[in-house]
Subunit: 338 residues, 2 copies
């Protein structure tokens, strides 16, 4: 790896000139040519790490995730990566697999790696040690879980509202016994989704709800569908994509035909599947939008000391089958801390 010094020698100019050239300043035309040639000859590649040392930047941001291998995580990572990389930043990816202690340790770890900003996906503010985020000097954004800290922005999706809307629709369609497969209530998102169900049925004493508590796995979706269908539900709502696959497997195996025998709705990732399953209500999370929002907000805070630090941005889900406006989810509600 040739350094700036070697390039300077080869070009017959000072290292300062090389640096200026690399940063787009105008130099004497003949010098610029000599430098260009030297760079090509030596195959010089700049060292962004060294560059950052001087101005205390690393051009990298930390992305700390609860569970790297969840379906939603991947879409989030990929949308964040796209925005960040266009801006010349790289992503330091780290997972804590549901463990609060690991989450807290990895915050230090990423800080040690001198990240310029931090996005934390699905970490709960109540975990012991999370409060130290308040002392982090770089911008922090909490994704999918609220945070009270004054230096932390929050990006959320209104899962509660979406589920309420979906269940209300099922009730309006005349369903009387709705089965719910939910995720562990230790998770904020899972609580919100179940709360949406309860809000929807509150004023409908004639509607019965049966709930199965799954663990995010496909087998638990399978078992949940089995138990609930045996209790003669007329509609099934699955609060998580992976579990919905298990439920689908059960339906196939038991010969339960979706739409005909049972109304089936769930969270999903559509990739144009929507036209094939148009009789079905599907909640589609705006993964790309929230990821992009996080990335852009973080860049804003890194580069321009954005105003209203500590704001919350709330996105809507798209409910396929309810005639939602695809574009609506692009405009988050913004709540500014007063």
């Amino acid at each position: 790896m040739a350094s700036i010094r070697e390039v300077a020698k080869a070009a017959g100019v000072s290292v300062g000139s090389i640096s200026r050239y690399l940063n787009g300043q105008q130099l004497k035309a003949t010098n610029m040519e000599k430098i260009k040639k030297a760079i090509d000859d030596l195959g010089y590649q700049e060292n962004i790490i060294a560059k950052g040392l001087k101005n205390n930047k690393s051009f990298s941001v930390g992305l700390l995730m609860n569970n790297i291998s969840s379906r939603l995580s991947m879409d989030i990572v990929s949308s964040i990566e796209e925005v960040m990389e266009n801006a010349g930043y790289s992503i330091l990816l780290s997972g804590f697999e549901g463990s609060p202690e690991r989450a807290v340790n990895k915050i230090d770890y990423l800080i040690s790696h001198a990240v310029d900003g931090l996005i934390i996906f699905e970490a709960d503010k109540s975990w012991p040690g999370m409060a130290k985020l308040a002392n982090v000097k770089v911008p922090v954004i909490s994704l999918n879980n609220p945070s009270d800290l004054p230096n932390v922005d929050t990006v959320l999706v209104d899962d509660r509202g979406s589920v309420r809307r979906l269940i209300s629709h099922l009730i309006a369609q005349g369903h009387h016994h709705i089965g719910i497969i939910t995720a562990p209530q230790s998770d904020y998102t899972a609580r919100e989704r179940l709360a949406g169900v309860h809000e929807a049925v509150r004023d409908h004493p004639d509607v019965k709800v049966s709930t199965f508590y799954g663990d995010y796995s496909r087998p638990s979706g399978f078992e949940g569908a089995q138990q609930l269908i045996n209790r003669h539900i007329d509609a099934l709502f699955v609060c998580n994509f992976n579990m919905s696959l298990g439920a689908l497997e059960y339906c196939n195996r038991a010969g339960v035909r979706i739409d005909q025998d049972l109304s089936f709705s769930h969270f999903d990732y559509l990739d144009e599947m929507s036209n094939l399953i148009s009789n079905r209500l599907v909640i589609q999370q705006p993964a790309k939008e929230i990821g992009g929002m996080c990335a852009e907000r973080l860049l804003d805070r890194i580069n321009h000391q954005a105003k209203d630090v500590g704001s919350t941005f709330i996105f809507d889900n798209l409910i396929v089958g309810l005639g939602d406006d695809q574009n609506a989810i692009n405009k988050p509600k913004i709540i500014t801390k007063s």
Copy 2:
């Protein structure tokens, strides 16, 4: 962010002593105590970036992926991350979304970020510009695609052999018309899987194969299942997880009962689903194993200048339903370049 210099001042020792302390050397006991106190008081956190400048290490490795949001990618990322992070390395994640030009550019990008090593997932050696990998000074590992370069190790899975074995089993069971939903043949992995099918039927002129070319999407799996089932296949094999979900959707919608009406086999990610779908043949990729192998091999090459650079490591898949030995996949075949 307090620096080593401030700690030195607070502790009344030289910066060299702080550095030595941080790196685990023995100092005079009283000094160690003073340093420890100073570090705690100032909330000092080491700057790994600066540390690396001196010894030309960044304690980060680049992970360049074809498609970050594929199901397999995330399992790979997560297993690599686990090994790397235990060794004190962070992961710089980058995606090229199937675009050869982006892949080539991002190699430079990661090198600029001074990674200590590089793992490239599903990039084809034949792409223009990929040859420059030969000039990369840090260790490189190619995952899921072979590489001829002398400085590049390769980690592969024997998809061809697994598919051959699976299809042979279907034939032995008496199936005569096998439907295949395959992925675009521009991808190495897709070609290998289809080659496995053809190897299996080569000696069975009585067996008919019908092939549908999908595009990895669920809708294409749906459509493939529809077309093939209309051609009266008695077994269906789907070469990709996502497309198998679409096929499953079609079966449900068309009232085709898997196992009873149609033998259904495919690539999958099981999370203990295997006991629920035990009549079905499922190819499970050793994502954790290949990811871990990549990470460990890379660390080996970074830290010990490993022997036999340029080797190929080939793992087996596990075929659920064929009584495979779970442990067998942990031992890759190793081909050393002569």
